[in-house]
């Protein structure tokens, strides 16, 4: 039973990293300037690396004998988990699958998520599961740079020109409704807390809001939860496999090769 929870929890962490990496990589060759094109794709690379470690661990779990999750599925690998699951089996939050939009929307999505991931991995380092703790410890150093880079861009855009400020405000309108899900535990997250290896995400919310508002202050934006956004309806479901229409398109592109030419290698 605990192993099912650990598997679901690990897959959730992995899917978050993979889907945001895939989104960011759409910028490859299209960044606003060369340095930032390189920056956003380097962040993708970090996230893919984190996803790989997590999928490898999940594959180990699934391959170990267990009646409830292991039976008859053959040898799972990091690749089969990334390339051969369908939309409803993905457990990423809705935020990471949202479209890139303009640069401001990509930046704000990254800032919201990296700030969350930073706080999450800080706690996950203390997980009773040694592998998750090690992956969190390793990843935290990378995420630190992501937080710094995306924060600086939020400030640049917000405190920049009326055009950039306006675009960041639009991005905020687009993305705010997907931030609530980060702190609303899915069933397996709550079970993972009870089992001792998971992080209580609801407890991260205050620190997240504080960091967001600190950066928004620098960026001459109003508090995140102000300006008509108080009590706005928060979209949820992604972590339980109920996604926005966006994820299907992402997977179509991500999985095309393995679906069209099963087992292809190069």
């Amino acid at each position: 039973m605990t192993k099912d929870i650990l598997y679901n929890y690990t897959m959730h962490l992995a899917d978050n990293a993979l889907i945001l990496a895939q989104r960011n990589s759409e910028w490859c060759g299209h960044g606003p300037v060369l340095e930032q094109d390189i920056a956003i794709t380097n962040i993708s690379l970090d996230l893919i690396g984190q996803a790989r470690s997590l999928y490898q661990y999940a594959a180990e779990l699934i391959n170990a004998p267990s009646p409830s999750i292991g039976g008859g599925r053959g040898e799972a690998t990091e690749d089969s988990l990334a390339y051969l699951r369908d939309v409803r089996q993905y457990k990423n939050c809705l935020l990471v699958e949202q479209p890139n939009g303009d640069w401001a929307q990509t930046i704000l999505r990254q800032f919201f998520f990296s700030t969350y991931q930073y706080l999450l991995y800080q706690q996950l380092q203390k997980s009773t599961d040694d592998t998750l703790a090690a992956i969190a410890e390793k990843s935290l150093k990378e995420v630190t740079y992501h937080v710094r880079w995306s924060s600086e861009w939020v400030v640049r855009l917000g405190d920049g020109t009326p055009e950039s400020h306006g675009r960041l405000e639009n991005a905020l309108e687009e993305l705010w409704m997907y931030t609530g899900e980060l702190f609303a535990p899915a069933t397996y997250e709550a079970e993972a807390v009870t089992a001792g290896f998971g992080v209580e995400v609801s407890a991260l919310k205050a620190a997240w809001e504080q960091k967001v508002n600190e950066i928004f202050g620098e960026a001459t934006l109003p508090d995140a939860a102000a300006g008509g956004r108080e009590g706005i309806y928060m979209q949820t479901g992604g972590k339980e496999g109920v996604h926005s229409e966006q994820l299907g398109y992402i997977l179509a592109e991500l999985q095309y090769m393995q679906r069209a030419y099963p087992g292809a290698e190069w």
Partner: protein
């Protein structure tokens, strides 16, 4: 028993010296030992054949060089007739640039890449990294500025010297 230990110790030292020949494919002046990613070398003998286990740790989770490094270690050991090689990856304790050797840092600088500052100096979420003084590897000036947080690889950022005007990579503190 004592004899076996001695033989094993000599083999371990030999493996370490062979690993000193394996270079990072992206920063070819650095060996994997300079980089500080070799955690442990174990040699066990079974049926007269040596089993070599090399324990490595990745620099960055997504570093594409890691797969190449694993392969290069295997190839180098094969060339020295070690056929039975196992390469194990560990994540914890996480690699930091403090694991890089002093010799490695000097090689980096000579190669034109500014070596990482000590870890305590940066690696936080503070904005715009105002406190970080990165020394120009060409003219040694500290009057430099960061152009981009991310450079040609995940482990480097891009800087420019305000004195000699040369752009350069900085192996960022991690």
């Amino acid at each position: 028993m004592a004899d076996v230990n001695t033989v094993t110790n000599i083999s371990v030292q030999k493996i370490w010296s062979i690993l000193g020949e394996v270079c990072d494919p992206e920063v070819p002046v650095l060996s994997v030992i300079d980089l500080g990613i070799i955690r442990e070398v174990k040699v066990t003998t079974a049926n007269e054949a040596a089993l070599v286990e090399v324990v490595i740790t990745p620099t960055y989770s997504g570093c594409p060089a890691m797969d190449v490094i694993r392969m290069n270690i295997r190839m180098e050991l094969l060339q020295h007739d070690y056929k039975n090689v196992q390469i194990t990856t560990v994540l914890s304790p996480a690699w930091t640039t403090d694991w890089m050797t002093e010799a490695g840092k000097e090689k980096l600088k000579a190669y034109g890449i500014a070596p990482p500052n000590i870890k305590q100096q940066v690696c936080n979420t503070h904005l715009f990294a105002e406190d970080e003084a990165v020394q120009c590897p060409h003219c040694n000036s500290y009057n430099t500025r960061r152009i981009s947080e991310f450079g040609s690889t995940a482990c480097k950022s891009l800087h420019q010297c305000n004195d000699c005007q040369e752009p350069f990579d900085y192996f960022k503190c991690h």
